[in-house]
């Protein structure tokens, strides 16, 4: 069964790989459909479902070949499993929002904890999802960031794991807020005993905010402006999906003119104005457009002199000014680039300095 699955998965991948070369079309039906689906949810024209939004993005990347039936079955299975955990486990948590907290704890267990399960007469050990240290940013293969990949292989990263968490929470009828940090996504919940707290799925720890702040790449202003560490609303989470869609489009059509990307990214920024990744992608898209205009004038972009020369074209000048403004704005919001090699060190620091950063009170609540 599992082999069959991964075979299918490979097939889809190969198809995509083959098709990217052939597809030159700027307007792609699957991407337009995905955009429309998410946009309708934002406008309340369609019932909100984070799961549908995420799968529509991944389906667009796979050009309609995503096995959504199989994925939905998986989600349904995990939801049933979560319900079984809730029914059979009593938390020490005593406050009036216990029902809600039990659901959070169940989803957390499914993603992060190995659990003994009684199957007829024997006890089977349930294996949780694991962190995949390979290609954590999806540079080699963007599907490494996908929830479908996580469900198929049980290995994921800081993108797919919180997404799956949110999907499962919503299936159980409770909210889960995504939150951003440099290169990172995690979960925030608000409960009666503690107020807001963080769930870090890549290590299965509940870290204090000081861990994120100590990363050294979160400027005070970025927190104040909600660039990072803000509990995102459902609509703002849809903005993340729109960004994912734009990014996937760039992978499918590396030479695109930027029109679709700008459309998706602009919509994302409308919903979540201080969304750093989207702001950066927009600025980068303008940069690419500028370079293309330089190419047209046969000016090599490596020579700084040429950048001035290219701006004699009023359109190029306009883009250049826009781009400069955009980068300044991003800096002013307090965004600072975290070098990718630093990221894993920081992520691991949570485990090595667990004593310092863990919210222990919470863990006591959640254990039996």
């Amino acid at each position: 069964m599992k082999r069959n699955l991964s075979y299918k998965f490979l097939l889809v991948l190969t198809f995509v790989w083959l098709s990217t070369g052939n597809l030159k079309a700027q307007s792609n039906q699957f991407y337009n459909d995905a955009y429309q689906t998410i946009d309708n949810m934002v406008n309340d024209k369609q019932k909100y479902s984070f799961k549908d939004a995420v799968f529509s993005v991944e389906n667009a990347y796979f050009q309609g070949k995503l096995d959504t039936i199989q994925l939905n079955n998986q989600v349904r299975f995990l939801t049933r499993f979560a319900k079984a955990i809730i029914a059979n486990r009593e938390l020490t948590y005593k406050q009036s929002d216990k029902d809600k907290v039990s659901k959070y704890a169940a989803v957390y267990s499914i993603i992060c904890q190995s659990l003994p399960i009684a199957v007829k007469d024997t006890v089977v050990q349930y294996k949780p999802f694991n962190y995949d240290f390979k290609d954590v940013f999806g540079h080699n293969d963007i599907t490494n960031l996908f929830v479908s990949k996580l469900l198929m292989t049980k290995e994921g990263n800081c993108n797919s794991m919180p997404y799956l968490y949110k999907i499962l929470a919503e299936e159980l009828g409770v909210d889960a807020n995504l939150a951003l940090a440099p290169n990172h996504v995690y979960i925030k919940h608000q409960i009666k005993s503690d107020g807001w707290y963080n769930t870090e799925l890549t290590s299965g720890i509940f870290p204090q905010d000081s861990w994120l702040m100590a990363s050294g790449y979160i400027h005070l202003d970025a927190i104040k402006n909600g660039v990072f560490m803000k509990a995102l609303s459902n609509k703002e989470s849809l903005a993340l999906c729109l960004f994912d869609l734009a990014q996937a489009y760039n992978r499918n059509f590396p030479d695109n003119d930027g029109e679709f990307v700008l459309k998706a990214v602009n919509r994302a920024i409308e919903i979540y104005p201080n969304f750093a990744k989207a702001l950066i992608l927009r600025a980068e898209t303008h940069k690419t457009q500028f370079e293309k205009l330089m190419d047209k004038q046969n000016l090599s972009s490596t020579n700084p002199e040429n950048i001035k020369k290219a701006q004699q074209d009023p359109k190029a000048k306009e883009i250049m000014e826009l781009m400069t403004k955009e980068y300044t704005h991003i800096y002013e919001l307090g965004y600072r680039q975290m070098p990718e090699e630093m990221y894993l060190d920081w992520l691991v620091s949570l485990k090595t300095e667990r004593e310092k950063y863990e919210n222990k009170k919470l863990l006591n609540n959640f254990t039996k």
């Binding site: 107020g195 905010d209 702040m213 104040k224 803000k230």
Partner: protein, 517 residues
Amino acid sequence: MFTVIENRFYFCINFCKIATTKTHELLISMMKKLQVLSLLSLSLYGVGQIPNFPTSQAPNPSNLGNFSNSNYGSSTRSNVPSVPYGGLSNQRSSKIEQQNQKMFQDDFKRIAQEQELTNKKEEYNRQQALEHSFYNLPSLSGKVGTQAYYDAYNKLASLNTENYTVSEANFIVENAYYGGKQNYNQFKSGIQKTAKQLLQKMKERKQDTESNTDKNLMVFEYFSKDMNLGGVQHKAMKYDFEDYMGQKDHSKMFVSKLLKTGSGQCHSMPLLYLMLAEEMNTEAYLAYAPNHTYIKFLDGEGEWQNAELTNGIFTANSLILESGYIKSEALQNDIYMKNLSKKELLAQFYADLANGYIHKYGMDEFVGNTLDKALEYSPNNIYANQLKSMYQQARLAYVAGQLGVTDLENPEDLKKIRFYPQAVALLQETKAQFNNIDNLGFVMMPEGAYEQWLGNMKGESNRQKSEELAERMRQINAEKQKQKQQEALRKAQEQKKRESEQSKEKARYTPIDPSKL
């Protein structure tokens, strides 16, 4: 009369019966007090009305006639001769009399009605007061010295929210604690003297007395280093570890205590800093951290610097964040690490005033009002919000206690308040404030954690970094000052040149003496 009273009373009882049957047995069993209260109020209402009842409701014509005759008849009769027409028939005069009588009656009725209305109003007010006393903490205004606090409140209220002096606002607060017996001019002149000496010191060192950064560095040095000031050896301000929260002795938080003893804590030190900065005409701001306040100012490069006075170092933001008790929500709601505006700072003085009152006298409505004023100026002020919550809890405990609740934490016990809408409203308010504080991103920082954090900050590496920061600020400022001086020099030279050119021009023309032409 008697029957009427009985009727009324009967009606009262009936009303209560209706009420009781409506609210079922539960209420009967639990709400003895309520019944007494409602009975009391209703019967009071009844009694209040009874004396006026006959006159206002059903005037007895014969009675009234007699009444008016005996009292006013003479006056009407004495009026008659003044009527110009002598030959008025008896019939006619009696008609007039009747008319007059009717007018008197109407007047009488009206007066009676008015009387009834004022009685009702008074009764209503009395009831309101009764209810008010039932749902509010008893006033402490009878205690000696509370008046000083009420005066202080009015004085704070008379300050211009955007333009007041920190020295004055803080003096008002501290003086209230001392019963209004201290001398402001004496206090102020002390601050002014120090400020002048610091400016003098800057001049001696040839520092730029116009520069915001340099002046801030000077004030900071006054706190953190020994120095010779006006011929007297000044000692660096010390942190007073003993009772630093002012729990045993509230005056430990005061600037006057800091000035007297040379040691203070994280409340008094930043305030004295602000006073000196104000006198030296430079900009510095107060900022909050968990259980803590410190100073922020803009340096020559437009960057915010954090001056930590309790240990005399410039701290990086990360050092403050590392306390572990600052949630991102707290930053998004600006409860910590934000430079307070003048208005927001005034909110802190109101909260300080309320806090002093609580320490000296206890909780009553004055505390609630003062905190509401603080929150009007700065709705997210975490200090005022916490005090407000304390006040609400005290009030709820008092009101619930009157209703027979001994343990607020016990849900069964707390149920006793559920038929008193106003008590329930108080409970809701109190809960809403808990949620508000949670949503602002506040987490309780235990005292031990606070002390540890303050201790960590003092570490050698942090001190090193702080020195580097200060050095950098100084260098940049020196550079700026140099540029400024060069600029001034250049301008002066230009001016000279121009002047000399002008004088040359003048020289060209002066020899021509018009008189000699």
